[in-house]
């Protein structure tokens, strides 16, 4: 139990970082109605670009910006494969994801894992987040540098930007494209352009998340993004199941996704620590959780469709 409690701040921190990716997944899966599998590749791309640039002395913010742009480029490729080449969205994402494995390896100098030089105190000090900052003041790190604070602020700023963007003409055209492409085209919206923009935006967020996780872990691994899409979906679904009744506003819906990611990580940590489970079972566990959560609403509609007003029906049958 103490193991779990002491792991909580770290789990919440990681959840917040993955939450940034999950918000990216929300843009494609929920707003555009596309299951974009590019994510598994572009997440690692973000970390790869960051680790190489930062290690060579580039400013942390510039390295993050480069990671963002690299992710956006990956999204652009998927978008063009889908709209210009007419490849179904899921397959387009898989193709990009597969290709990105080689690209990511190339970025990381053909090494499967590259570490940040965090043993040097001045290098560590330049990072936005790190596993080490979780320990807080008692280990000599200021409380405001705690990942929950830093990534929390980061997420708040991102949500604010997205809230503004989806309120603009361009953002509204994206929402319309996901909601009803026929209507969107009839209202003069270039639905292909909207899809490409959405994929660019989404994968930019995903790569940013990858860059943050790379800092947190102090290294980037070629397999870091494997299954990321499923974690993203888990966060989106958990957020929706728990908060869809309360959070109506768009910004709050994005917040719900971020909270969903935190809950996911806390639950996973609980299972690992309390159940003493080998960490390699994590992927199976995640897949099961997402499968169950996707099944429930379907079965609910199929087998348990309830009458509009059961009480009234009762009265009617007596009459």
């Amino acid at each position: 139990m103490t193991g779990f409690l002491s792991a909580l701040p770290g789990a919440a921190s990681q959840g917040l970082i993955w939450g940034v990716m999950a918000i990216g997944v929300y843009i494609t899966y929920k707003i555009l109605d596309i299951a974009d599998l590019t994510v598994d590749g572009s997440f690692c791309t973000g970390g790869a670009v960051f680790v190489m640039l930062f290690s060579s002395g580039v400013n942390v913010w510039l390295a993050m910006l480069a990671a963002l742009l690299a992710g956006m480029l990956a999204g652009l490729v998927t978008g063009l494969l889908h709209t210009v080449c007419g490849i179904p969205a899921i397959l387009a994402g898989i193709l990009t994801q597969l290709g990105l494995y080689s690209v990511n390896m190339a970025i990381m100098d053909m090494k499967a894992s590259v570490a940040l030089p965090i043993t040097q105190a001045d290098t560590l000090d330049k990072l936005l987040v790190s596993l080490r900052f979780v320990q807080g003041p008692k280990a000599g790190y200021p409380a405001w540098r705690h990942p929950i604070v830093v990534v929390g602020l980061f997420t708040a700023v991102l949500i604010a930007i997205l809230y503004w963007y989806f309120g603009t003409e361009l953002g509204a055209s994206l929402r319309a494209t996901g909601s009803n492409p026929n209507m969107a085209r009839a209202q003069g919206i270039d639905t292909d352009l909207a899809k490409v923009l959405g994929l660019i935006l989404s994968n930019g967020m995903v790569a940013l998340s990858g860059a943050l996780l790379c800092q947190y872990n102090g290294a980037n691994d070629i397999n870091v993004g494997r299954g990321a899409i499923v974690i993203g979906l888990a966060a989106v679904i958990i957020g929706e199941v728990l908060f869809s009744k309360v959070f109506i506003n768009f910004a709050l819906k994005l917040l719900a996704v971020s909270i969903g990611a935190i809950i996911y990580y806390v639950v996973i940590t609980a299972v690992l620590k309390l159940g003493n489970l080998n960490a390699n079972y994590l992927k199976l566990l995640t897949a099961l959780v997402v499968a169950v959560f996707l099944t429930i609403p379907y079965w609910k509609g199929k087998y348990f469709s309830k009458p509009v007003n059961p009480a009234k029906k009762e009265e009617g049958s007596h009459a």
């Binding site: 963007y165 309120g167 603009t168 003409e169 361009l170 953002g171 509204a172 055209s173 929402r175 319309a176 996901g178 909601s179 009803n180 026929n182 209507m183 969107a184 085209r185 009839a186 209202q187 003069g188 919206i189 270039d190 639905t191």
Partner: protein
Amino acid sequence: MLDVQNIRKTFNPGTVNEKAALRGVSLTLNDGDFVTVIGGNGAGKSTLLNAVAGVWPVDSGTISIGGVDVTRLPEHKRAKYIGRVFQDPMMGTAATMQIEENMALAARRGQARTLRPGITRDERDHYREMLKILDLGLEDRLTSKVGLLSGGQRQALTLLMAALRKPDLLLLDEHTAALDPKTAAKVLDATERIVQKDHLTTLMITHNMKDAIVHGNRLIMMYEGRIALDISGEDKKKLTVEDLLARFGQATGSDEADDKLLLG
């Protein structure tokens, strides 16, 4: 306003499902014309409307609207000139967006979408006024999701949105067919008022011969991918259903008109 010259369209060419849907249709609409289109199933009514709207490219022929050749323009670019209402009430609006957001999308038809606000305060007041025309109580529900509205309400909203930018051409594809008779009459009534108010050039498909006769200043009847009848002016005003069936029989040499038209 609309000039269609000899357009042809064959679906699934070279397969067993080959269907020549449009076999050389030419049609010229003058400014302010309100043309009703009738014809049996598979006569090519909807295909004609979709060809004009640019849902897919035609095989041959040209289409121009207000003097602009739009034959090669994709659907979303033609939307600048065209307002549309579909047969399916679900098709013309975005269900997960608010009423006012849907209207704001329509208000920007034909303009570049930028990073300006998707909707402004002034627009809201304007939309509230416009919704009052429909007399459906929607003016008090600006921020309701469109998915919560009934089919008739959605269709009326789509109509308002189609006319919002005063399009060069209004295309109505059996837009009352999926509604109950009472709602259908209400939507048709709103259609008449909106078309009259802005003198919109309109092409309206209907399966109801009476509606086709009562509304508009011109009536065309399609048969097997061609225009079989074109009645306008005084001729149209005096028209009756029996007249129409007789003239259709004469024009096509077919006596299947009765069933096909009445059932279609």
